[in-house]
Symmetry: C2
Subunit: 372 residues, 2 copies
């Protein structure tokens, strides 16, 4: 079974979701990738070791396209000016022309980094994204955001650059560590919250129903549903000036948590806490009460304790978040599940009380485990 989701951006492109080399071949053929003068396949050492990059280079070679492989170190540290500069200088040294394509094979880091290299080499060359993590499949590969980190903050440097096509081969999920899978599940669950998707129920069983051993058809359907949510939102707001902000549900606190832990905290963990925090803020405001679901998600997905910092410290990080406008911190809340709103008038005492409530909940849990 193969799903094909249209992302109606300018230019529009398709996200293919399925299993196996056939999907890759069909997706590349659909954008006439054989016309590329060459392809630079950008991947990381982990992904290469798992054999995913080799599958992709095989598909390009089958099209008769000369293949160059550029490998970066796995991990967030590769989203740096230095790693990006190495890549674009590498493309230049290879003498790739404007008809060369860049193909990212990996998770969010590789996609963001390779995407910005594609956007900035020769003022932009064609780009294909082959996400290999659940998070990258349902999130990073839709919407054209590419970028690297600045010293002063994550993702502050980059471009909007749409791929020609995205190919999510669910076979890649079988090699993912459970923590990485949970990270993707958090974003998938967030998408479900935004539209009150029926498949949100799939997360409410044991382990939220997710394991690498799920069959390909189930994965394909779940991922395609998640991609559809994001595709609809970004198509309505390509440059993130309006409703695309909804995708930041849980992310205002998450970004501050990541900054406060010097990015030691995994994104999925931070967003899981962020969702729980958004549920607390919503409840304090008299909106829908979805705290139980959010707490259960965080309890399952978080793999690190909440940092023991005063809320004022987090508030300082929020003050420099790139999504703030006119100095006000914006929060995405749920009027009810399926109906997000953006507010920028939450009083500091409400923020502080919710932080204490969150801390009580999850610091306690971690401490119990510590003493077990």
């Amino acid at each position: 079974m193969t799903e094909r989701i249209r992302v109606a951006l300018e230019p529009a492109y398709d996200v293919w979701v399925g299993s196996g080399r056939d999907v890759l071949d069909a997706a590349l053929a659909s954008v006439d990738a054989g016309r590329a003068s060459a392809v630079a396949v950008i991947t990381d050492d982990n992904v290469a070791a798992a054999g995913h990059a080799a599958r992709v280079t095989g598909a390009w070679r089958a099209l008769g396209v000369p293949v160059h492989v550029l490998e970066v170190a796995s991990g967030e540290a590769s989203k740096s000016v230095a790693a990006w500069a190495d890549l674009v200088e590498g493309l230049a040294t290879l003498g790739l022309d404007r008809d060369a394509w860049v193909c990212a094979v990996g998770g969010g880091v590789v996609g963001d980094l390779a995407g910005f290299a594609a956007a900035s080499y020769l003022r932009g060359v064609r780009f294909v994204q082959v996400p290999t993590t659940l998070l990258a499949m349902v999130d990073a590969s839709v919407g054209g955001k590419t970028g690297i980190n600045a010293v002063a903050g994550k993702n502050l440097i980059g471009a909007f650059w749409q791929p020609q096509v995205v190919v999510a081969d669910v076979a890649a999920l079988a090699t993912l560590p459970p923590a990485v899978l949970r990270e993707g599940a958090v974003e998938l669950y967030k998408h479900a919250l935004l539209v009150d998707a029926p498949w949100r129920a799939a997360f409410h069983g044991a382990s939220f129903g997710l394991s690498p051993s799920l069959d390909a058809a189930t994965w394909t359907e779940l991922i395609a549903d998640g991609v559809r949510v994001k595709a609809d939102v970004v198509a309505a707001d390509p440059l993130e000036r309006g409703v695309r902000a909804y995708l930041n549900l849980g992310h205002t606190l998450a970004h501050a948590l990541e900054a406060a832990t010097d990015h030691a905290m995994a994104h999925g963990t931070a967003v899981a806490y962020g969702l729980a925090y958004a549920a607390l803020l919503g409840h304090a405001r008299g909106l829908a009460d979805w705290r139980a679901d959010a707490f259960a998600l965080a309890g399952w997905a978080a793999d690190a304790p909440l940092p023991d910092v005063p809320f004022a410290d987090l508030r300082a990080f929020m003050a420099r978040d790139k999504k703030r406008r006119a100095g006000r911190v914006r929060w995405v809340l749920l009027e009810r599940v399926g109906q997000p709103i953006v507010v920028d008038d939450v009083p500091d005492d409400v923020l502080d009380a919710a932080w204490h409530a969150l801390h009580g909940q999850f610091a306690a849990r971690i401490h119990e485990e510590d003493s077990a």
Copy 2:
């Protein structure tokens, strides 16, 4: 007198040409620049010393917008990854948000560098260009090309990023050294060749009619006419996939000359030789004979001798020019003045013979001067 030329790109913008602070104020008002949360004025030490940056910061301050000035070293060396990284990290450290604007005040280097910083900070912030050289006014400020140099070649890294508005204040030309003025005149003349503009005749008098002491009205008209030519071409081909190639008249050889001299040769000098070379190639092909005009231009504008290298060496640099397609070197020639064509089938012996003819012409001239 103020001229206002529409550049019909997506998004469209205006190039204002005129003299004095009033023009700057009116241009900024026309795009509602007062709504900026802050502005980063990016300039170089030369331009700052000439007082141009101060005029511009004054205009922004008058709008009530907080102003930050970021100064780079003047010269091509600033079109580097390192200088660009310093700028974007600087914008991040200042905590500028998405409603902040970037304003370039300077020549082509500052415009290209600041433009790429604007394109890549927070995935793109609004950009205003205030060109202070003739070359930047008639060329670099129209078309949205921004970029920096790679180790392997010039302008290999960058983005298409359109400004909100461009303001050419011809008062800035009074401070330009004659060599820099001639550099701009070469591109202006090239624009005239592409459309057989009546004002091409202005270049045929003594010193091609140009001097910093020309009155503001004459400058304004001449620059506006040149901008119109480029605006028409880029509007027809925003991403340089077709007719925009015409703007490369003279540039195929020019880029090779710059590379062969390790960029010691000024761009205007290289293009002047490149135009003469294009005239020679066109004549050899039985097209229009505009050699006399082209030789006169090169004789007036070139401020360095032709490098004494075999054509094969230049050919090697052309082989990696980013505008080649499928490995063939493309030449813009003039079927007649006003009617450019692109060819990619000039035999190597014709290229070689034309190079010898060019060398005979200009090496001789330089040697005469040496012995005078």
